[in-house]
């Protein structure tokens, strides 16, 4: 326990100091925080509950649009803003920007949660691959439909309010870094707290055998919906932050980007190890480093590399990094291993 506290404190201090240690990588670090949030919340469904969703991107994109819309709509007419595109006809004062951002983030987190609660009863009754394909359809449908709505920019996209002129580029990077790092810490604390209660056991029971869990008197549907709402809350928050960070929202390429972000969150969680607390964090970090490398050195070939990476990870590495560590050092995970028994098992295989 003592070691854990030191570990967490070290990570917290490192996280707070990171933008000053690596001032050139602030945007990358902020994106990393968002990716960790997405992977960790995906893991609630995919890892703990056994419901492999491609649909968490729905909440992410929803949060992104909501945050930007609220931030603009609080002070200016939204339709004129999106119509003017990149032209700066309206300028937020610093106070307006930060107020708008704060309200926007709250809306971006709360509305997707409500949406998840409303559609959860219908969608979470599906199982296995039907659930996976249904959520995939949901994400793509949201992207296509939002691409046809005029008031949020339709096909030409939505420019989020530019950061006000206080402290220049440095301040912008730091502001968004600390915002996303704050979201990350909040997510991690919340998820860790959830995992330390009976809730995690129920989710695992649903994963292992839902019918039996129901027969044991667990209202599985209730817990599935709650789990999805938790995911939606943090996905929406992450989306809102990411929208401000990127500065430009497009329906299918940025917000409801099932082809990129929607797969990334699945991949990161699988790479790190499904159904573990630290797996998605490690997976997201490793993945982000790899991705940035690919994007820099194989520019143009990045999607080819991504496709190959997905296939390779899924086929050869489905247990992830944590799963591999667990196989290698089971004692570290608090498992008592009988050497002879283990050998016998390996030989049987």
């Amino acid at each position: 326990m003592n070691r854990n506290i030191i570990l967490y404190a070290a990570i917290l201090i490192f996280g707070l100091a990171a933008p000053f240690i690596f001032p050139a990588f602030k945007v990358q670090l902020s994106i990393l925080c968002v990716l960790i949030v997405l992977a960790t919340t995906w893991n609630i469904q995919g890892g703990e509950m056994g419901y492999n969703t491609f649909g968490n991107i729905l909440f992410y994109g929803l949060g992104m649009y909501l945050c930007a819309s609220v931030q603009v709509g609080m002070f200016f007419p939204l339709a004129e803003w999106t119509e003017s595109g990149g032209e700066k006809t309206f300028v937020h004062t610093p106070a307006q920007f930060f107020q708008g951002m704060a309200v926007g983030l709250v809306v971006a987190a709360v509305v997707p949660t409500i949406v998840a609660g409303l559609i959860g009863y219908a969608i979470l009754g599906l199982r296995g691959h039907y659930f996976a394909i249904c959520t995939l359809g949901l994400g793509v449908a949201a992207g296509e439909i939002s691409g046809g709505i005029e008031i949020i920019g339709a096909g030409q996209g939505f420019t989020t309010p530019p950061f006000p002129n206080v402290g220049g580029l440095e301040a912008r990077g730091e502001f968004f870094y600390f915002l996303s790092f704050g979201a990350l810490v909040l997510t991690f604390i919340a998820v860790r707290a959830i995992y330390s209660t009976r809730f995690r056991l129920i989710l695992n029971a649903i994963r292992d055998n839902e019918d039996k869990a129901e027969a044991m008197g667990i209202e599985t549907m209730k817990y599935k919906i709650i789990g999805w709402m938790v995911s939606a809350f943090f996905c929406g928050l992450a989306g809102g932050i990411m929208g401000g960070l990127v500065g430009y929202i497009d329906s299918t390429d940025v917000a409801f980007d099932g082809r990129e972000m929607g797969v990334f969150m699945v991949l990161m969680a699988i790479l790190g190890g499904k159904g573990t607390l630290w797996g998605p964090v490690i997976g997201a970090t490793v993945f982000h480093i790899f991705k940035e490398g690919f994007w820099t050195f194989f520019l143009g070939w990045q999607y080819v590399a991504l496709g190959v990476l997905i296939v390779v990870i899924v086929i050869y590495f489905p247990e992830g990094i944590m799963g591999w560590l667990r196989e290698k050092y089971p004692e570290r995970f608090g498992e008592v291993v009988d050497e002879a028994d283990r050998k016998a098992q390996v030989e049987l295989k």
């Binding site: 219908a122 969608i123 599906l126 996976a132 394909i133 296509e144 691409g147 997905i310 296939v311």
Partner: protein
Amino acid sequence: MDFMVFQYPMITVQACLDGILLGILFALIAYGMALQWGVMNIINIAQGDLVILGGYIAYFMYLYGIHPAWGVIVSPIIMYFVGVGIYKLVINKVVDRDLFISILATFGISILFMQLMNFAFGADVVLANSGYGTTFLFDSAVVLPNSKIFSAFVSIVFAIGLVIYMKKSKLGRAIRATAQNARAAKILGVDTEKVYAATFGLNAALCGVAGALISITFTIHPYMGLPYTIRSFMIVIVAGLGNLPGVAMSGMGLGVFEEFADYILGTEFRIGSVFLLLVLILVYRRFKLSRKREYLK
């Protein structure tokens, strides 16, 4: 949003005919999807990308001066080997694993194909001009391009041919036996590995035919694959596995739905309405089954 459909009844006829001709094509793709789903228990997200690849083969024949209709013969032959290649490289490693693994693996293949096609053929929307002219019905109130009629006819020929092939030939019987019980088929001397490879190849060949027809009648674009996957998945779940008349009917139904969505909601919501329809169908089936305390599986 306009309601031309109700003011001009001929538009309804037009939309229905268009939709049926389109739906027959969808049914052909869905047939391939049902084949591999039934035999190998794999949902192939890359299905639509195979279709698009088949379309590009026909398009390239058109570019080099060969009539694109010959693509209907050439494209499935090439696509058969592409399909077998994909099977040998990737699918045979996921075939007996968790379904989600195969979904994700084929998703990876889909992204890979999308981007490779983007590099190889460019990001332009293209179509192969067949030069078949158009047919006018009802005093020119209904306009049907002959290429659409041709494509529907060819799809029906291929579908019937495949049904007969599956019934009569040795490989067809082996495929059906494997679909019923892979282990029993193995005991009785069926090389299931070969059967799987052939099934995947056949599916890719069907996609090749459909793609060649789509390149003649509609347009193709490297990123247009996923909607075809979703459409074929939807058709299969509505019809049920192994229900061929059902596949044809629901394919046509989907085609008609799409045409009406196009007219009523506008073209920008066309793909969105397809995906939304998928969600609605699944949710409907979920509620229908949950009354009997069952679930989709």
